[in-house]
Symmetry: C2
Subunit: 202 residues, 2 copies
């Protein structure tokens, strides 16, 4: 089981953006669309053993947590950004009236929205997965022996804040896929292919 | 120097498609947009040592070859699909009147269009690069000693034809990034990060 968690500091928490201009109007929901593509899609296939948490912290009602559960997802995830953005719009609409912090609403089978925080989601994930925080100065991913349930935390284009990093200290091991600073979607594509190559892939 | 070549069997060769529905109207130009994203983009950076050839073989005027030259590209390549599709539209417009097979038109500095064929481009690339054909049953990429100039040939979602594969035999070594069939953009993201990790990255 592989979990990917991304904290999107500026991603809008109400569907007030234009599908025709995601980069300019949504607080970079396009980054999240590519993240989902990399996490789930194979050529003519879909990774059922993947869970993705999108943590949206942009205006006007942060946070919103959108969960995609590969083993249960019934709605089709297409590779293009625009159709994936539509799923995020659906989730934000469904989550618009939410007040309770712990309640999760099912948007479609396998797609959920809640007001959970980044910390909530990391703590929840910690119950059954080893957590890794992707960081340029982390331990090389090739040196790590991964257990069967793994979770990876990534920042968006702005990265995680010092407070987020302090929270992760002691909870998540820092791992690195390389020397440069890569786009989140590229890192996830790399991790998936790398994990597939292990003798006992998570 | 890294070259990535993709043959897109159905990608439209005239800009007759809708930016609002690339997957449904363009013969999957969206695949090419994600391919370019993976080939060139870093987080807050750009790979100048990359060249991409898009070989479009869809209706109505195949082939069209669009070349993105990282070392010279002056127009900004943004990460989202839509803005990248606009560059492809510009190139197809500029290439609309082309008749001569060998002539290449500069669309912007670093962006070129021509009527070159897949075979033309592979032969041209062979002059200064070792060519690898990405194939599930190829030699593991981790086993290969790469020279300084490398080129990777990929198929689109439909893959290369038996004729294309026959042409590549003896020209390109088959290499594999893993056991599954991956999306072209994921493979390119993986290759870039993998090559970066080598002692003397191409």
């Amino acid at each position: 089981m592989r979990t990917f968690i991304i904290k999107a500091n500026e991603a809008h928490t109400r569907p007030d953006f234009k599908l025709n201009d995601l980069p300019g109007t949504s607080g970079r929901i396009d980054v999240l669309c590519r993240f989902l593509n990399s996490a789930f899609l194979l050529s003519h296939g879909f990774r059922k053993n993947v869970r993705v948490w999108l943590l949206l912290y942009g205006p006007p009602e942060p946070p919103k947590a959108i969960r995609f559960e590969g083993s249960r997802l019934k709605v089709r995830l297409n590779p293009d950004e625009r159709s994936t953005a539509r799923l995020i719009v659906k989730a934000l609409k469904a989550g618009g009236g939410l007040r309770e912090p712990g309640k999760e609403v099912e948007v479609y089978p396998g797609l959920y929205v809640s007001n959970r925080t980044f910390e909530d989601v990391v703590r929840l994930t910690l119950k059954n997965s080893a957590i890794y925080y992707l960081h340029e100065e982390g331990r090389p991913i090739t040196d790590i022996r991964f257990p069967q349930n793994v979770a990876f935390v990534l920042g968006d284009h702005k990265g995680l804040s010092p407070e987020d990093e302090a929270f992760l200290d002691g909870i998540a091991e820092r791992v690195s896929v390389g020397r440069k600073s890569y786009l989140a979607s590229h890192v996830v594509a790399y991790i998936n292919i790398f994990l597939d190559s292990l003798p006992n892939p998570p």
